[in-house]
Amino acid sequence: MNSDPILSVRKLEKRYGNFIGCTDISFDVWPGEVVAIVGESGSGKTTLLNCISTRMERSSGEIRYRMRDRRYPDLAELSEAELRFLMRTDWGFVHQNPADGLRMQVSAGANVGERLMAIGDRNYGEIRRRASDWLERVEIAATRIDDMPVSFSGGMRQRLQIARNLVTHPRLIFMDEPTGGLDVSVQARVLDLLRMLVSDLSLSVIIVTHDLAVARLLSQRMIVMKSGRIVEQGLTDRVMDDPSHPYTQLLVASILEN
């Protein structure tokens, strides 16, 4: 078993002037592990995700990432070129709104192939073959490879976004409410797909969601946030079945029984 974390966050803080986005955030993520960050709107969970994924600048604290070459630098030590390379090869980011993560004006195949071309693949046939493989893995018919994402349903767009992220075999995926904008029936299919891909590819995932059912289904560990702070963290089923913090108890008590 791999005993080194892939990501360590220590005393992370993000301030907007006097306003606290998130503060005193410390946790680790191990390879192959799914960590859910839950909390209501305004709890700072998306701010936290954006800081870790370097889409937003942190105010203070440490974020270390295990590179493929085993180095373990603070992300702030990496050059912009290294960071951007990381983002399009080793990392993925699945946005709530697929349009934010896709290029809507080019075909599904080009969307999936973009990362391959970005790392220097120059064989059209090969790029196309891999794109169609990935479309099928996310349950999109390969015959739709030349169709524009605008002609896709919400669920298909979300699955396309997932394929586009996974084509370079990243090791760490950030997800921001990946099923947030979808109908319930469509949501189940996307969740099931995510669950399978995450385990087949041994991905590490940090997923932000306000939906505890999604967190329960996908994650092994859970971090509960309120007002920018972590109020409770631990094994997902432990946090949900035996919540200790008043806020977590309130969250869990609010779930509709199924």
């Binding site: 912009e80 080019v106 080009a110 071309m117 970005a118 120059r122 064989n123």
Partner: protein, 301 residues
């Protein structure tokens, strides 16, 4: 008492400070081939899109001894070409020509002359959109970072999309090139037919975009490679027909409609090249090459 007189035009219209500013941009552009240098584009006595960038570059490099040629779509006799040539004849009093070989400076829109350029010549391109990444990335801040970090995957996304939608790379003009293995550059809307002429050309090539306020350059003998895929290599288009006037082949052709019954013929797009060949005795069929008019003519024979 002497009558006060207004000063005449400054030589080549622009004031010396502006020319100095533009020359500095040009020098930087030459030093970093393919890199887009911002410059303080001036208002010119013509609308944007008519060549304000090219005119400012020409004005800044023009000397009294230069011989200027201006072409538009390969022709010396179109409105835009004639106006710009007359403009410089008036404001700089320089000699003008239509002959590629006689010119020291050639300002162009849409074409590179068929006659190979030589050492000492300068070709100035009028550029509408200098940013080759613009079609997929609208943010200027982002495209600048992409250039800085050599993140050029997007250019291939565009070419991929071409092949996916058309079965081949359908981009036929403004075809992206890589300069000296570093910057990806938009060669302005010249046909991709002309792309190979940029590669290791002995002439200095300058590009001016007035509205977008960018200047870039290819110093003589710069490597200019058209981007492509391994299994879809870059190819220039070939024309089946020969020039109806000068019988040339393997040049870029314009299609000319000769009647309303489908009659049409192909002629050299480069008017100087065509005239030169005709003066050397070459002669084309001079007749409709296609359509009903051709059938009529053949029947009459």
């Amino acid at each position: 008492m002497k009558k006060p007189s207004l000063p005449a035009y400054n030589f080549a219209y622009l004031d010396e400070q502006t020319k100095r500013m533009i020359r500095r941009a040009i020098l930087k552009a030459i030093a970093i081939p393919g890199y887009q240098v911002p410059f303080a584009s001036r208002e010119m006595p013509m609308p944007y899109g008519w060549g304000t960038g090219g005119v400012q570059v020409t004005a800044s490099i023009l000397g009294p001894d230069d011989v200027l040629k201006v072409i538009d779509q390969g022709a010396d006799d179109t409105t835009n070409a004639v106006s710009i040539r007359d403009f410089f004849a008036k404001v700089a009093d320089v000699a003008t020509t239509t002959r590629t070989t006689d010119a020291t400076i050639i300002q162009t829109r849409h074409r590179i002359p068929e006659t190979p350029l030589t050492q000492g010549q300068i070709i100035v391109y009028q550029v509408p959109i200098p940013e080759p990444l613009r079609f997929l990335e609208p943010r200027e801040t982002e495209t600048r970072v992409m250039h800085a970090l050599e993140e050029y995957g997007l250019v291939h996304v565009k070419l991929y999309e071409d092949i996916a939608q058309h079965g081949h790379i359908a981009t036929t003009y403004a075809y992206p090139v890589k300069v000296e293995g570093r910057y990806v550059m938009d060669p302005s809307p010249i046909p991709k037919f002309d792309n190979p002429k940029m590669h290791r050309s002995p002439a200095l090539q300058l590009f001016g975009a007035g509205r977008e306020k960018r200047i870039y350059a290819l110093p003589p003998f710069t490597n200019v490679i058209s981007l492509d895929f391994e299994d879809h290599p870059f190819k220039v288009q070939r024309f089946e027909s020969r020039c109806a006037l000068c019988d040339a082949q393997d040049v870029y052709m314009d299609e000319v409609i000769t009647d309303d019954r489908g009659g049409r013929m192909f002629v050299c797009s480069d008017t100087d090249h065509c005239e030169t060949r005709r003066s050397e005795g070459y002669q084309g069929a001079g007749l409709p090459q296609h359509g009903a008019a051709k059938a009529d003519w053949e029947a009459a024979q």
